[in-house]
């Protein structure tokens, strides 16, 4: 009765430490992906600063700020789930996980409302939609909105992945041993907080640059 998932580990503690290290390596590789996109944005911002600043003003700061608060709150509930799992308070852990996933869904709904607004205003240069922008330098403003949709949709995809994994974890909860429950909560928690950190950088870069 060692409670490990793999025979490679003699104690659950060791297995959890190996898992945690693997998650950090994975997070490092994800940082490379997002880092490259941030770099493209940075170089474009240096070259087309005024056009980017004018385009950035067309985004909804209230919705962006609200969504940042929602995601920070979801990280808080995820951290609570970790603390509760350490104390083996499983029912409360599940509720904290449900709250985290629900806040993630809330973020996606608000993001969808934002996308809808931007598409209605003709600010979405994708899928052949018309791009109508009255401000200065529309060519580089279009580039800004292209980057905006690429960055935020990549982030949203990561969030959707996190929500799906949380839902799967809850579905398999009854069959999992206590050690495996804790291990999974720790692993998804690390991923979730990382996706939050990405947004923490995306929000000022996209919404606040030179307002």
């Amino acid at each position: 009765m060692s409670g490990t998932e793999s025979v490679a580990f003699d104690t659950p503690r060791r297995e959890r430490r190996a898992d945690t290290f693997a998650m950090w390596v994975f997070i490092g590789s994800e940082a490379m992906l997002f880092g490259a996109i941030f770099l493209v944005f940075l170089v474009a911002h240096i070259d087309f600063g005024p056009a980017f600043a004018a385009a950035s003003k067309r985004l909804s700061l209230p919705l962006g700020t609200f969504n940042t608060a929602v995601l920070i709150t979801s990280s808080f509930t995820m951290a609570l789930a970790h603390g509760l799992a350490l104390h083996r308070r499983w029912r409360a852990t599940i509720w904290a996980l449900v709250a985290t996933a629900a806040l993630g869904v809330c973020f996606l709904i608000v993001k969808g409302i934002e996308y809808g607004k931007e598409i209605a205003e003709g600010l979405a240069p994708l899928l052949g939609l018309p791009f109508r922008y009255a401000g200065p330098d529309p060519v580089h403003a279009e580039f800004f909105f292209g980057l905006y949709f690429a960055m935020t949709s990549l982030h949203a995809l990561h969030l959707i992945g996190g929500i799906v994994v949380i839902a799967g974890m809850i579905a398999l909860w009854g069959a999992a041993s206590p050690a495996n429950r804790l291990r999974r909560v720790v692993a998804i928690g690390l991923y979730w907080h990382f996706v939050d950190i990405i947004w923490v950088f995306m929000f000022p870069v996209l919404y606040l640059i030179n307002r």
Binding site: F21, I46, T68
Partner: protein, 82 residues
Amino acid sequence: MSELRKLTFGYIGLLALLALTVASSFIDLGGFNVALNLAIAAAKAVLIAMLFMHLTGTLPRLAVAAAGLWLIVLFGLTLIGR
């Protein structure tokens, strides 16, 4: 449960930093707006990593340091080469 208090303080700190970064964008600080916004974002990232992600132990820190090193190479060489 002091763990809960720590998490709550971290959460309140994160919301305060969010308010600060949004408020700062309404004040014209010249070129410092971008630097301040990025510094606040970095502070939030450190808060999340230390309090929520429990970034301790040699191996996790090694992974983060390796990622940081490659990001420095990526950004550094690109910006120097321009």
